[in-house]
């Protein structure tokens, strides 16, 4: 059974219909990339998966439960990690505390244990030496790696990424994508909104092309990138792939 099932989801902000009818599935261990033009509703879709937005119609089943019907949102969220374009580290605490806070407050872990888990994840993303640094002293790529480690500290079953490299200087994109690739190799279930077509081609098990609040096409990366069926997918890809050159 799929770990995420999105069924006929509809969502508007006021009169602005952002998601008109979205359906897709994510299997356990899969990496699914959401691509599409700006304003097509990718971030909104991702935010709905983490209940940062609610939906108007349809159903989202995650880990066998209808997430819009669960009463304890916080315990749902702890299982679904999210990484944002703007990193969103807590500026009033150092890197280690960024990773420790939710473990202690939400998972009720002892500080010592939480620190060990945090250091382990920081080590995996190459940021252990910065455990006592404050976010304001880090580069964008470093901040994003910490943000990923922070989410992993909750031992989530699913990770959501919303354009994790879009706010980075080009030379830092690689270090962050490598961390995400590592996770893919460890079979973390991930939904990644990205403009990095190379990354989507290399890492995704499935690519979903969204436009105007609809899934216009989905399939394996080779299929979407080499042999797109939908006219708008073709246009979009020729635009972004050209820009990549």
């Amino acid at each position: 059974m799929s770990i995420i099932e999105v069924k006929n989801v509809r969502k508007s902000f006021g009169n602005n219909l952002v998601l008109s009818d979205i359906s897709f599935n994510v299997e356990k261990g899969q990496v699914v990339c959401l691509i599409g033009p700006s304003g097509s509703g990718k971030s909104t879709m991702l935010r709905c998966l983490n209940l940062l937005e609610d939906i108007d119609e349809g159903e989202i089943i995650v880990l066998s439960q209808d997430i819009n019907k669960i009463s304890d949102i916080n315990s749902y969220r702890e299982k679904v990690g999210m990484v944002f374009q703007q990193f969103n580290l807590f500026n009033n605490m150092n890197v280690l505390d960024n990773c420790v806070l939710a473990q202690m407050k939400v998972l009720k872990k002892e500080r010592k244990e939480a620190e060990m888990i945090a250091l382990e994840h920081l080590d995996n993303v190459g940021m252990k030496d910065f455990a006592y640094a404050y976010p304001s002293t880090l580069s964008g790529g470093q901040k994003q790696r910490v943000a990923i480690a922070r989410a992993l500290c909750m031992n989530p079953e699913i990770m959501l990424f919303d354009e994790p490299t879009s706010a980075l200087d080009p030379e830092m994109v690689g270090e962050v994508l490598n961390v995400i690739k590592d996770l893919a190799n460890k079979h973390m279930t991930m939904v990644v909104v990205t403009h990095e077509m190379g990354f989507a081609r290399d890492v995704a098990d499935k690519v979903i092309f969204m436009d105007d609040g609809l899934v216009l096409e989905e399939g394996k990366p080779q299929q979407i990138f080499n042999n797109p069926q939908n006219e708008r997918t073709k246009q979009f890809l020729s635009r972004v792939l050209q820009a990549d050159l």
């Binding site: 356990k28 261990g29 983490n50 209940l51 940062l52 937005e53 609610d54 819009n68 949102i73 916080n74 315990s75 969220r77 702890e78 679904v80 990690g81 999210m82 944002f84 703007q86 990193f87 969103n88 580290l89 807590f90 500026n91 009033n92 150092n94 806070l101 939710a102 407050k105 939400v106 620190e115 060990m116 250091l119 382990e120 994840h121 080590d123 995996n124 252990k128 030496d129 910065f130 455990a131 006592y132 640094a133 404050y134 304001s136 002293t137 943000a147 922070r150 989410a151 992993l152 909750m154 031992n155 989530p156 079953e157 996770l183 460890k186 079979h187 973390m188 279930t189």
Partner: protein, 257 residues
């Protein structure tokens, strides 16, 4: 006006001035502190954003509370503290309990300051970038935990200059509380002037004492602010405890195979 006369009044009535200073400082300091607590509570509640998925009842309750708090803030910022002091003092005195004047004074200055602090804290909170709030929520922290651990500490830091300014304002404006005859500096000065008939000299001394108290306060507040800002931007000290913590479990127990 003669300076020597000023000096004479100061030395002769020093104990009276000192009592005035003491009362003024007690009222201003406790008023600012309690006001800050009220402000944190009121500003914090006003700034809480319910989840979009919150129930209708909760949304209504929140709206009602917000409305009441808004009225409190408008009333206390929109009327003079002198009027608040006499009104509240006599209201309670004649209808409820014959309360202590000093207690009444601290009560009035606290809720008055609270109204200003609430707005200071609220704008401090709004200056904290909402992304951190979302990140905290996405980790499973509740709205309350997010407010206490992430938003408020940064809001207080942002708002520190304005909070400190309230202390200075209170040192000066507690003078209006003489209207309910507590022995703060202005009240004491009035009695001294009444005995000496040296109004100019007496009030010159009074003004100098106020200036002295506010200057010292700003020096202290500036030092504290520097310290707070320093800890925010200070570079990490190398800390050997990282190395000493044994990483027990290498590898990836977070991966769900």
């Amino acid at each position: 006006m003669s300076l020597s006369k000023c000096f004479e009044i100061l030395t002769k009535y020093f104990p009276s001035f000192l009592l005035g200073i003491r009362t003024t400082l007690i009222v201003a300091l406790t008023g600012t502190l309690i006001g800050l607590l009220i402000g944190l509570l009121v500003g914090g509640i006003r700034a809480i954003k319910l989840d979009k998925t919150a129930s209708k009842t909760n949304k209504i309750i929140k709206a009602v509370i917000d409305g009441i708090l808004k009225i409190y803030i408008e009333v206390f910022r929109g009327t003079p503290m002198m009027v608040q002091a006499v009104f509240i003092y006599y209201l309670v005195y004649t209808n409820i309990v014959r309360w202590d004047k000093m207690f009444a004074a601290i009560f009035v200055i606290s809720i008055n300051t609270g109204a200003y602090m609430a707005e200071i804290i609220r704008s401090g909170i709004q200056a904290v970038d909402p992304g951190q709030n979302e990140a905290a929520r996405s980790l499973g922290l509740s709205a309350m935990q997010t407010m206490m651990n992430i938003v408020l500490p940064q809001a207080i830091r942002n708002a520190f200059p304005a909070i400190g300014n309230e202390l200075i304002v209170n040192i000066k404006d507690s003078s209006v509380l003489m209207i309910i005859s507590i022995t703060e500096l202005m009240f004491q000065s009035n009695s001294i002037a009444g005995t000496t008939y040296r109004f100019t000299e007496t009030y010159f001394v009074t003004a100098m004492i106020y200036l002295f108290m506010t200057s010292i306060s700003s020096v202290i507040l500036n030092a504290v602010e520097k310290k707070i800002n320093h800890t925010r931007t200070s570079l990490p000290q190398s800390d050997t405890s990282i190395e000493s913590i044994v990483i027990a479990k290498k590898g990836a127990d977070h991966v769900n195979n």
